[in-house]
Symmetry: C2
Subunit: 238 residues, 2 copies
């Protein structure tokens, strides 16, 4: 059987003001609650200053270990907004000016577009743009890294707009320890999957059959489905 | 002149509940504000689950890079309170039962002292105990790592009780760029130090004397002292 991989995440809050205690990091709590609702396990949170090396270090440490990395902050037009550059360096890509974003900015600002505002069109090369909630500036993502603004209202609007794409099976699970061998129960497991279309089943055979041979993990967004499937399987396997 | 070394810190919040969004990490903000008031620069904050390896990893990453590490959480009597063990492993020491703490616990709990409560007497070998604010359990520290409880009220009471020991020159600074050579102004700087006893002066000569030769950094807990000293020095050096 396929092994179920848990969907995981890390948070990187970026901003001197967070570490100086000037601004509470409300985005961390908002994200943590949203991820829990989405069924995603947040494994680490890190807060770093507005510093290229610190951002790169945090990404180096975290991005290979989780399904998604969410960053907050450092996306504005001023000199201390260095998140795009930090992410690009961590991923080994250049920072380029995105033509779609540049066009949107020119349309929006017209003659008043200055060099600082144009910085908002800079993206790590290869980034995807996720336009949302009628906002001018999209969420950027590259590989598994999603860049969110630090301003809490924008963070929330943007996260709320795109979060459903991250939804995964929530932490509604049940475990069955089975004394039969995996090969003997494979058909039963397949039947269960047909009977309960929203069910996921993980089957983990143990080398030493003492106590039990296979651990079966049931998972679904629907608690009732997990309970019914567990009943069904316990009877079918017995 | 002596180079001023900035006093720095890192925060490690420990607890599954923080990452699950069940509990806001108010201790981080409280510590960040306290450190700023104390003149200590918080360089990193990390939130990790109740997991030995995660705690050790965070300490390995941070403790050599900052003056102080402050941990929050994981100090209770239950199985998922693993901070003492995690800190001990990171520092390569054993966990021992501290006789002073054990005595205090036995006096306090009497016959009702059980195995779980006795766990509160476990400390990393070599830890210092900082009793404070009439609380039964002291703050533990070992080398530059200070262990605080996660319960916000206790965190605050304990931090408030011992924080003055960490106080250092705050971020009240002024910079003077000087075109004379360091050797020419050394006596003037010494005079300023005598005149303003709470003043710190850092003097940073530059190899290339283009623009200026020495950068002078003035620092004091007292903003007025910095302003007066800057006035004095600008006139004396001119």
């Amino acid at each position: 059987m396929d092994v179920m991989r848990e969907t995981t995440a890390a948070y990187i809050g970026i901003g001197d003001e967070l570490l100086a205690g000037k601004t509470p990091d409300t985005n961390f709590l908002y994200l943590a609650q949203a991820l829990r609702d989405l069924g995603i396990r947040l494994l680490r949170a890190v807060v770093v200053p507005d510093d290229l090396d610190a951002i790169r270090e945090a990404l180096d440490l975290l991005r290979h270990r989780v399904t998604y990395v969410f960053t907050s902050g450092g996306l504005g037009p001023t000199h201390d907004d260095v998140t795009v550059e930090g992410v690009a360096r961590a991923l080994g890509v250049r920072v380029i000016r995105d033509p779609i974003l540049e066009k949107k900015l020119r349309e929006h600002f017209g003659q008043s577009l200055d060099h600082s505002s144009l910085k908002m069109a800079s993206v790590p090369e290869g980034a995807a743009l996720h336009f949302c909630d009628r906002l001018l500036i999209p969420v950027l993502s590259i590989r598994n890294v999603y860049l969110f603004p630090g301003i809490p209202e924008l963070f929330r609007r943007k996260l709320d707009s795109i979060k459903e794409r991250f939804r995964t099976a929530p932490f509604c699970t049940e475990e069955i320890l089975c004394e039969r061998f995996e090969s003997e129960i494979a058909d039963i497991l397949l039947e269960a999957l047909e009977r309960f279309p929203t069910l996921k089943i993980g089957s983990y055979p143990k080398l030493d059959p003492e106590g039990y041979s296979v651990k079966i993990l049931l998972e679904s967004r629907d608690r009732a489905v997990v309970a019914q499937a567990a009943d069904y399987l316990r009877k079918a396997i017995a």
